[in-house]
Symmetry: C2
Subunit: 297 residues, 2 copies
């Protein structure tokens, strides 16, 4: 099965769960619900939630048990995009070919919709993961991956790195890796770990899956930087060359396009090695890993 077929097979289950995951009561102001839904249901590859489901399956459990965790991780990813796109941050007006949240709903509502999605992620984990020790552990792992030592910390480091000019080559690459490990790698690693926790996997398997997620996260970021340079805006849904325009450090800018491609391939190889102990049940994860460096959007 190709990565595209695999994603197409699991995506409907994720979309259906996401559509049911927002609060439906009258207590949520309708405009806030619209803003949450607008970003959460804006499509995208659903890579993170599908990784949660595949990790649970690789550990021998039915993927449906992992749907609350899958929704939670996609909510955290979505909130981070809404806040990153704000004028005070990256000031992006287009995301997946659509106007970003603050363009449609205004800055205040975009900030609050992001806050509400982040909060809802923990509510879903705490209330819908049926085994309560696992529910608490899911909350802990997600918070650690998303917070100041993880994704938010990476975003801050990214903002700060843009302010400084690189002097020698080793330092910026080390810094870029450190930024992306936190900004992208931690949340991808967390996707795999959540799947393992829900499945009741042992610590070793959980660690191997987490390492896989971290390595594909680094590959993902290199691939993202490459798409910004060589991608087709009609497919990526983003204006190209934004990174250079913003004076952001990127892998292609630092080491060139070819070496960036090699780096991504090395990260993917490292990721797949980590799955060896799982045997055949991890084949779909290996397939998805390949997709990360081949995708064109």
């Amino acid at each position: 099965m190709s990565a595209k077929q695999l994603l197409d097979q699991y995506r409907p289950m994720v979309e259906a769960a996401l559509a049911e995951s927002l609060p439906s009561g009258s207590e949520t102001p309708s405009r806030l619900r619209e803003a949450m839904q607008y970003s959460l249901m804006a499509g995208g590859k659903r890579l993170r939630p599908i990784l949660v489901l595949l990790a649970t399956e690789a550990c021998g459990e039915h993927p449906s048990a992992a749907l609350p965790a899958a929704c939670a991780i996609e909510m955290v990813h979505t909130y981070s995009l809404i806040h990153d796109d704000l004028p005070a941050m990256d000031d992006d007006e287009l995301r997946r070919g659509q106007p970003t949240s603050h363009v449609v709903f205004g800055d205040a509502m975009a900030i609050l919709a992001g806050d509400a999605l982040l909060t809802r992620a923990f509510e879903i984990l705490a209330s819908e993961v049926s085994e309560k020790t696992a529910a608490a552990e899911c909350c802990r792992v997600l918070a650690a991956a998303a917070g100041s030592e993880g994704m938010v910390g990476g975003q801050v480091a990214d903002l700060q790195a843009s302010d400084a000019a690189p002097d020698d080559l080793e330092e910026p690459i080390r810094l870029l890796d450190a930024i992306h490990l936190r900004k992208t790698g931690r949340l991808l690693a967390c996707s795999l770990e959540l799947g393992a926790i829900v499945a009741g996997a042992d610590d070793d398997i959980r660690r191997q899956l987490g390492h896989f997620g971290q390595q594909i996260g680094l590959a993902f970021q290199v691939a993202d930087d490459l798409l910004d340079v060589v991608g087709d805006a009609s497919r990526t849904g983003k204006a190209g060359g934004r990174d250079a325009e913003l004076g952001k450090w990127t892998y292609p800018a630092l080491v060139g396009v070819e070496e960036s491609r090699d780096m991504a391939a090395r990260y993917i190889a490292g990721a797949c090695e980590a799955l060896a102990p799982l045997g055949d049940t991890a084949t779909p994860l290996v397939t998805l890993a390949g997709f990360i460096i081949e995708r064109d959007h």
Copy 2:
């Protein structure tokens, strides 16, 4: 014991726990940690965390068991203040007599510091509440109180209400109550519930404590509106008359200063009635409730 003595007695325990509650590892960028700390350690009455401790004590447990929950609720309160103060929201430059987060650290860092504090609150509950079923329940209750059906929903309703002009008197008062139940009441009710959950209290007691919190929350908001009209800026640390300037609906603007004072007193009376089943152990909570309408900052 007076309310002031009570607050002075419990505050040092809260301050010490808060000072230890932020991530100390090198993974958190130092500027982000500074921004989180700047707002979290900016003083204030520490009403919410002290209510958590007193609720745990009222249920017969030692308050130290409730310190993680106390820190978590103060982090959520602090994040909401940071985001509310942003130029895109209320655009406040002064809070507790100090420049607000975005004035000191910039808008991007203020958004991210808020995000990180909200996330850290769940990490602390999930990892430091020792009984894991209670930990998951704490996460669930906090998320429900803070999210789109609670505090964030109330903030959205507040922003929207300011846009509309009241036509008859009943409607805006009903709306104001609905806004403040979510914006202030839910998080105060949550403080009491967290204390009850940590203490392993039964559902009845937990519900009574929650009702107490909700009612003092309404009283608190009326008192806050009154302070904006009649308060002394040198004590409140806020510029007076901001609400009127922003065209916000307030209780004094709608029903006058005297009737607002009566409303606050009625809410406090209702709150204290709810504590009857707890007997003498709830006396400190009754004392604190009185403070809410007597405070001058």
